[in-house]
C-alpha cells in the first residue's frame, strides 16, 4: 500500500513541478494552471497522508485504500478536463465569429477598392 501511495504521490508531485515549469516558460497561462496546480496539490497531500487515505477508504467502503487516491484522481481530472472542454467550446465560438468578421471586413475593403478603381473620379 505504502509503495502505491508513494508512486501516486510522486506522480502528483511531478505534475505540480511540470505545471510550475510550464507557467515559468509561459507555455500555459497562469489562469489555466490554477486548476491543475490545485488538483495536483490536493493529490500530493492525500497521497502522503496515510491516515487520511485510510479514513476515506473506510468512509467509501473501499477495501484497498490506495484506490481512494486513484478514484480521487479520476474525479479531479474529469472535472479539470470538462473545464477545458468548456473553454475550447468558447474559444471555438469566438474563433468562428472572428473569422466571419474578418471575412466580411475583407470583403468590404475589396469592394471599396474595386469601386475606387472603377470610378477614380469620385474618390
Amino acid at each position: 500500500m505504502d509503495r502505491m501511495l508513494m508512486v501516486l504521490g510522486g506522480f502528483s508531485a511531478v505534475l505540480v513541478i511540470w505545471v510550475l515549469a510550464s507557467v515559468r516558460r509561459e507555455h500555459i497561462r497562469v489562469e489555466y494552471s490554477v486548476s491543475w496546480l490545485v488538483a495536483a496539490t490536493v493529490l500530493v497531500i492525500v497521497s502522503f497522508n496515510r491516515r487520511l487515505v485510510e479514513w476515506m477508504a473506510e468512509a467509501l467502503q473501499i477495501q484497498y485504500p490506495p484506490l481512494v487516491v486513484i478514484v480521487l484522481m479520476l474525479g479531479v481530472f474529469l472535472v479539470v478536463l470538462y473545464r477545458v472542454s468548456l473553454r475550447i467550446s468558447e474559444l471555438k465560438d469566438n474563433n468562428i465569429a472572428l473569422a466571419q468578421k474578418l471575412a466580411i471586413l475583407e470583403y468590404r475593403q475589396k469592394s471599396i477598392h474595386e469601386a475606387q478603381r472603377q470610378h477614380p473620379e469620385t474618390t
Partner: protein
C-alpha cells in the same frame, strides 16, 4: 468581384456556400444569373483548396472568402451576417455542387414573399415527387422526418434540404445564432422554438454535377448522432443562454 453588395429592387440575395466546388460553381452561378437577372449572387468560400474562388469570381459572383475552414454552418452564417448587414430582405441558399435547379428559385422566392412564413424549404419530396437521393441520405431523411414530426408539430418531408429561403426575420435570427456543423435540421428546431413558420415547396434535385460530397458513409453515422444531439440540445435550450 462584382460588389459592393447592394439589395436590388427585389431585396433578394442568392447565397452559395462552397468548399472545393471548382467543377460546378461557374455553371451554378451562370444558371442563377440567367434565371434571376439582376439578383446578386454571393459565394461563401469555406477556404477551398482548389480554384473555387477564381471560378466564382470569373463567373460574376461576389465572393466572401473565409480565412479558414469553418464548416457548412459557419460559412452559411457568415453569408447571413453579410446579407443582414447589407439590408437584404430575402436570402435564398442553394448548394454549390449543382444539385439544385436554378429554375426552382423563383418558386421559392414567390413562396417566401406570399406564404407569410419566415422560411421556405425547396423540397425533393413535397409534392410526392421522386428525385435523385443517395441510399444513405434517403434513410437519414426518413429517420429525421419521423423524429421531427412530434417536435415541429408538422411533417417536414425534406429536412436535410440545403435549398432554403429565409426572410429578414429569420435572417436576423440566424445572423445571431445558427447551428454550426450540420445546420439544416437544427435550424428547423431553432425556428420552431421562436414560433416562426416554414413551408416546403417542390423542387428538383439532381446528382451533384462535380466534386464529392463531404458526407461519406462513415460520416453519416456521426452526422446522425450529431444532428440528433443538436436537435435535443435545441429543445432543452432556454432563452438567454444563446451563442454570441
Amino acid at each position: 468581384m462584382s460588389g459592393p453588395l447592394i439589395p436590388g429592387e427585389r431585396g433578394l440575395l442568392v447565397l452559395i456556400p462552397c468548399f472545393n466546388e471548382q467543377g460546378a460553381i461557374a455553371q451554378v452561378i451562370v444558371d442563377i444569373q440567367r434565371e434571376m437577372p439582376g439578383v446578386p449572387v454571393l459565394v461563401i468560400d469555406d477556404a477551398s483548396a482548389d480554384a473555387t474562388v477564381q471560378m466564382a469570381d470569373a463567373a460574376g459572383a461576389d465572393v466572401l472568402a473565409l480565412p479558414h475552414h469553418l464548416g457548412l454552418g459557419g460559412a452559411v452564417q457568415a453569408g447571413y451576417k453579410l446579407a443582414f448587414e447589407a439590408g437584404f430582405q430575402y436570402v435564398i441558399r442553394v448548394d454549390g455542387d449543382g444539385q439544385h435547379s436554378a429554375s426552382d428559385i423563383p418558386r421559392v422566392f414567390d413562396a417566401l414573399k406570399s406564404a407569410g412564413c419566415q422560411m421556405v424549404i425547396g423540397s425533393r419530396y413535397a409534392a410526392g415527387q421522386r428525385n435523385y437521393t443517395s441510399v444513405f441520405r434517403a434513410f437519414g431523411i426518413i429517420v429525421f422526418r419521423t423524429i421531427l414530426r412530434p417536435i415541429l408539430g408538422t411533417w417536414v418531408y425534406d429536412p436535410t434540404s440545403g435549398f432554403v429561403g429565409v426572410n429578414r426575420e429569420a435572417l436576423a435570427l440566424f445572423s445571431r445564432s445558427f447551428p454550426l456543423e450540420y445546420p439544416e435540421i437544427e435550424a428547423l428546431v431553432v425556428l420552431q422554438r421562436k414560433a416562426f413558420r416554414f413551408v416546403e415547396v417542390p423542387c428538383r434535385v439532381r446528382p451533384r454535377q462535380a466534386g464529392r460530397s463531404s458526407i461519406t458513409a462513415i460520416k453519416s453515422v456521426y452526422y446522425l448522432i450529431h444532428v440528433l444531439l443538436g436537435v435535443f440540445v435545441n429543445i432543452l435550450k432556454f432563452e438567454g443562454r444563446k451563442r454570441k
